[in-house]
Assembly symmetry: C2
Homo-oligomer: 347 residues x 2
DNA sequence: CTGAAAGCGCTTACAG
DNA sequence: CTGAAAGCGCTTACAG
């Protein structure tokens, strides 16, 4: 191979591989290596642009400084930002991150989790599907092997691990309560149905239901589905709106991801003359997506209420938590759920 | 370690490590391993949920089946999709992908490229910054070591490697020509200035200028900059619009990424009463972002012309090209530029 | 059909 | 202050 190895540097510097390794890993002082030996080695390494073979060092040292981020589906706004912020923050701690998509598929999630044994990763961030059956075995094996992992945003019920997320229940409860406070009563929750039902969606629904009941209002929930049209993510929201027995006074969309579809469907519906209020939980801490949503909503509907998650903070805390597990290896510390505050505003 | 190793399986099956390795790597037939030996080994591996240590196998075999995607900045629509499609396609070919952000920083790009020697990656997709000075050395070393890499979307001038991208010049030329065809003459190009000027932006500008000149029109170019406001990506587009000596008949925004900002600025400008035409190159093959853009544009401006890139196709071709390099190792095949068609439409 | 052995490029006690 | 040596968990000629 063309690459410079420790061996070559050692040969040129006229010392043993041990010394080179020590110097290049900043252990020269502890090992009391002679100053001029150090400098000679450093000079050669620099000139040859030496890059250590990470495979070899990891095989021996048992850590790769690489973290896996296991998410259902990359191109969703929330995950885009989560990944980005984790990557950026992890770098400052000397770690790299690698993304693994599970494509909302249980088998794929199981495979991804199994990689904890590949030696490639020091730990994992996991946004889990909620249906646990087939993957419980892997999770348990990970626990038993005390492989470090944390849940971000979405967790698998019944698995003991730290969870870092927004307080989806509270965010949803508060937002619904605010809306009720403006005098609205017929508040419709639009929920995506099907296999993708996850802990987050569940908590948001629960929050909405609780708020409605606490105000002696009847929860009103309609599901919509993904249809396979030209764009890979069409919905049947237009039909759902059409089939409604009455016009809702406000619509709570469970995820901002589908807002463009809802707005499109709404614009084509018979409701469009007299505007509804809209509300959604969204997640744009950083890209211009928030501007997009605001612009869209302002032009199509009158008012809207939006809840924003602090994804950067979620990333930071998740990273710190995971690194604590990796670097402490204390094992059976208590498992905690950390809720990162959200904020909401009217537009 | 808790993990099952080849050694353990070998011990339990009563055979040598060699045989286990052969069987588990589907080389049993060539090596003429006895059927029942095979089955015994397979059964144990399955029961123990054996996962090979990728570090060890890669160290020996010299390939990791991991590809690096080196991009300036993950959360941009184009890259989000590019990454996603590469990941998804690479999986079907037995490869995984790992993203490395360069954050538009030359030094960071240099570091990232240097990882070609870490042994972690079999090849790299690179969307390069254009200023090449400080990184030329690494690129040349990669060439010399015949490490497999391809440029996607953005390339470094002067480096010989395959380039896979949309034909940005042509897309821009055609779009401008179309706009001129509707009778517009004062067509303003809004270009982000500063360090981030890359090959793509350059080609789009060139295409615009060529089209204008070919129709004996004067190119009209204004730069805008990123300002550090609350949202990390504010622009000074409002001021730029305000300072214009006259109202443009059409505005060509060099990247759809900034369209929300332009629309916001436009809405606040004195032009908003009499609408301009807008046009941009965009990249949304798959998420609902295209819907978002369409909705936004329809509500704010009259007409718009949009060019869409086929990112999935770019990803596929880039992947096939890179894998050809990896698996052939032919070395000095000719370097080619592959242009993936774009399409444009009026809205 | 199967096994002993070398070696990938590092790290890290241990001996001096 | 420095070196010889074992070993991380695999793969792969080679010998039989």
């Amino acid at each position: 191979m063309a690459g410079t190895s420790l061996k070559k540097i050692a040969a040129e510097a006229g010392v043993s591989v041990t010394v080179v390794s020590l110097v290049l890993n900043n252990k020269a002082t502890e090992a009391r290596i002679a100053k001029d030996t150090q400098q000679r080695i450093l000079a050669i390494a620099k000139r040859e642009n030496y890059v250590p073979n990470r495979l070899a060092s990891a095989l021996k040292s048992k850590h790769t400084k690489i973290l896996a981020i296991v998410v259902p589906f990359t191109p969703v706004g929330f995950f885009v930002e989560l990944i980005y912020h984790i990557e950026q923050y992890a770098i400052t701690k000397g770690y790299q991150a690698m993304v693994i998509n599970t494509f909302n598929d249980e088998k794929k999630e199981q495979e991804s989790l199994s990689l904890y044994r590949s030696g490639l990763f020091d730990g994992m961030f996991i946004a889990s599907l909620n249906k646990t059956s087939s993957r419980m075995g892997v999770y348990q094996a990970m626990e038993k092997a005390s492989f470090p992992f944390v849940f971000v945003d979405r967790y698998a019920e019944g698995i003991k691990a730290d969870i870092i997320s927004s307080d989806h229940f509270k965010a949803s409860y508060d937002m619904t309560t605010k809306m009720i406070g403006t005098g609205k009563q017929n508040i419709l929750l639009l929920n995506r149905s099907g296999q993708a039902v996850n802990s987050t969606a569940k908590l948001r629904e629960d929050g909405y239901i609780a708020a409605m009941k606490d105000h002696t209002l009847e929860p009103w929930i309609q599901s919509f589905i993904l249809t396979s049209g030209e764009s890979e993510h069409d919905t049947n929201l237009a039909e759902v709106l059409k089939s409604l027995p009455q016009k809702p006074e406000a619509i709570f969309l469970h995820s901002g991801f589908y807002m463009p579809h809802l707005i499109k469907a709404y614009g084509e519906s018979s409701f469009r003359e007299s505007k509804s209020e809209f509300m959604t939980v969204d997640n744009f801490s950083f890209t211009q997506d928030l501007i997009v949503q605001k612009n869209l909503l302002e032009h199509v509907v009158g008012h809207f209420l939006i809840t924003v998650q602090d994804i950067r903070q979620i990333a930071k805390i998740a990273c710190d938590t995971l690194l604590a597990h990796i670097e402490d290896k204390d094992g059976s510390a208590e498992h905690k759920t950390i809720h990162v505050p959200t904020y909401s505003f009217w537009g």
